[in-house]
């Protein structure tokens, strides 16, 4: 494998698009917006056979997501996919990366899960399933997130609880989904004695009702695991716990995933 060049873009998009047209378009946009650093291609001479790579997660300590990983349809079944993955994992270890995650859909086409082979491949190189968000991409299409420890993580780190003032400042439909929304949130500086409070059940209900009015189907939220004030408002507003990405932000600091099914709740006042 070698680093991807901009001149590889057309070949790479063709390989991805052959498998999933939407993914091809999304990958093209991503290469344009975020560049091709950390992207690698499997080549035979001048011919591009596959693509894989990684993107670092901002604000985290050595956390990466596996980026578009596709192999030319005609080259499948020869162990090349596994070779590409192991190559990327090896490169990440070389740069002292700590954890790698990958997202997989369970999209069905003609009654067949077209990502089943990919899921099996990820597990074969050591990825472990951490979170499954049901109906994430669309009704009946889940998102599975798998994680791979690139270096041993301590099991007994206990981080101090934090109580920052968290406020919601927007909402949007999650990319590549149909009707799945999330809230944007920020940590505000507390303004001393009369500082603002962190979000409450009522704040969540305002957002839930707004998404319902926009025709949203489901809401997904994620928070770091050391925020003690988030749980009761989320639970009271009808959110369900989905799972956690272990050691996502740093060792001992996980990413908690919550979802709210708008179709199964009455309108809130």
């Amino acid at each position: 494998m070698r680093a991807m060049y901009m001149s590889d873009t057309a070949s790479v998009i063709e390989i991805i698009g052959d498998h999933d047209e939407d993914d091809g378009e999304a990958a093209e946009a991503e290469f344009h917006d975020e560049g091709i650093e950390g992207q690698f291609v499997l080549v035979d001479g001048e011919t591009v056979l596959g693509i894989s790579g990684y993107r670092e997660v901002d604000g985290c300590d050595g956390t990466y997501y596996l980026s578009w990983t596709y192999l030319d349809q005609e080259m499948r079944g020869n162990g090349l996919g596994k070779r590409m993955l192991n190559d990327v994992i090896s490169r990440l270890k070389d740069i002292d990366a700590r954890k790698l995650f990958v997202k997989v859909s369970d999209y069905q086409e003609d009654g067949e899960n077209i990502y089943a082979a990919a899921l099996g491949l990820y597990k074969s190189v050591g990825f472990i399933q951490e979170v499954v968000s049901e109906d994430f991409y669309d009704e009946g299409e889940s998102q599975t997130i798998l994680g791979l420890e690139l270096k041993p993580q301590s099991q007994d780190i206990e981080l101090a609880d934090e109580k920052p003032v968290i406020r919601f400042n927007g909402l949007f439909e999650i990319a590549e989904t149909e009707g799945a929304y999330t809230f944007e949130w920020i940590v505000e500086k507390s303004a001393g004695l009369f500082g603002k409070r962190s979000f409450s059940t009522e704040d969540l209900e305002i957002g839930i009702n707004s998404i319902r009015e926009q025709g949203g189907r489901k809401i997904f939220l994620t928070f770091p695991s050391n925020l003690v004030l988030i749980h009761r408002p989320l639970q009271a507003a009808g959110f369900k716990y989905v799972g956690q990405l272990k050691d996502y932000y740093e060792e001992g600091l996980h990413e908690l995933h919550f979802s709210h099914d708008l179709e199964h709740f009455e309108a809130m006042n």
């Binding site: 009369f194 603002k196 409070r197 749980h231 009761r232 408002p233 369900k240």
Partner: protein, 247 residues
């Protein structure tokens, strides 16, 4: 033994707690002249609560001007006898008041506070109805706040300064110790004449607060609070262990 802080996050802004603290400071500065002797004496007589005046049973031996004794039921809650008295009282209110207000909402908390103060006064009056010694201080009402706190947040850790060491103890242990001292003080004061600490006001306020909170607490507001009750696990995230709260 001084509580420094509690491990109990404030969810909403405690407007009434801040207002009560402000009113006490205002009374101390504007009415009591920062403890100036003449102003202090006048304020204690005019705005303190004198059981003998209230029931007319001690008019012949009145220690102060009799006017204002009914007003004294309320005004005495905002009067203090010295710097240590006001600082101590307001410090306890600062530590514990915000979380009790969190559990009730500001309007209900204001009624709760006044009612606790009235029950505290009633308890002190009952201990010596003919007394001509003026009773002052927010401590009866603040005793009510502490009574509510022990019911609402018994397992929350309070950081206590003991000499030069800081210990983290559960609220129920710290407050049980505090009320125990007040009860013992009250018993030892029976039959003793002269001024001093109104132990029975503390006991009455504490008991009233512990009972009134059952009526005044708002379960909806408590839903926003990560720590409350005996059954609450130490980790707020434990609520997700209930299968009905999971995807």
């Amino acid at each position: 033994m001084i509580p420094i802080r509690d491990d109990n996050p404030q969810v909403a802004i405690p407007y009434v707690t801040y207002t009560i603290i402000g009113l006490n400071i205002l009374a101390w500065t504007l009415v009591q002249g920062f403890g100036d002797e003449a102003a202090l004496r006048a304020s204690v007589c005019n705005y303190g609560l004198i059981p003998g005046d209230l029931f007319g049973s001690g008019l012949d031996q009145k220690a102060c001007a009799p006017e204002g004794s009914l007003i004294g039921l309320f005004s005495s809650m905002f009067m203090h006898g010295g710097w240590a008295h006001i600082i101590g009282n307001l410090w306890f209110l600062w530590i514990f008041g915000d979380n009790v207000e969190d559990a009730m909402g500001s309007l209900r908390f204001s009624f709760f506070y006044i009612l606790s103060g009235l029950f505290a006064a009633a308890a002190q009056i009952m201990s010596d109805p003919d007394s001509m010694i003026p009773m002052i201080g927010a401590s009866g009402a603040i005793g009510g706040v502490m009574g509510a706190y022990i019911v609402l947040y018994p397992r929350v850790k309070v950081h206590l300064l003991v000499f030069i060491m800081v210990f983290r103890v559960p609220a129920f242990a710290m407050l049980a110790y505090w009320i125990g001292v007040q009860v013992l003080g009250g018993i030892s004061s029976i039959g003793v004449t002269g001024g001093g600490t109104a132990f029975w006001a503390h006991v009455g306020g504490f008991a009233a607060g512990a009972i009134l909170v059952l009526v005044f607490k708002d379960e909806e507001l408590l839903l926003n609070h990560p720590y409350h009750g005996w059954k609450q696990q130490s980790d707020p995230a434990d609520i997700w262990s209930d299968p009905s709260n999971r995807q």
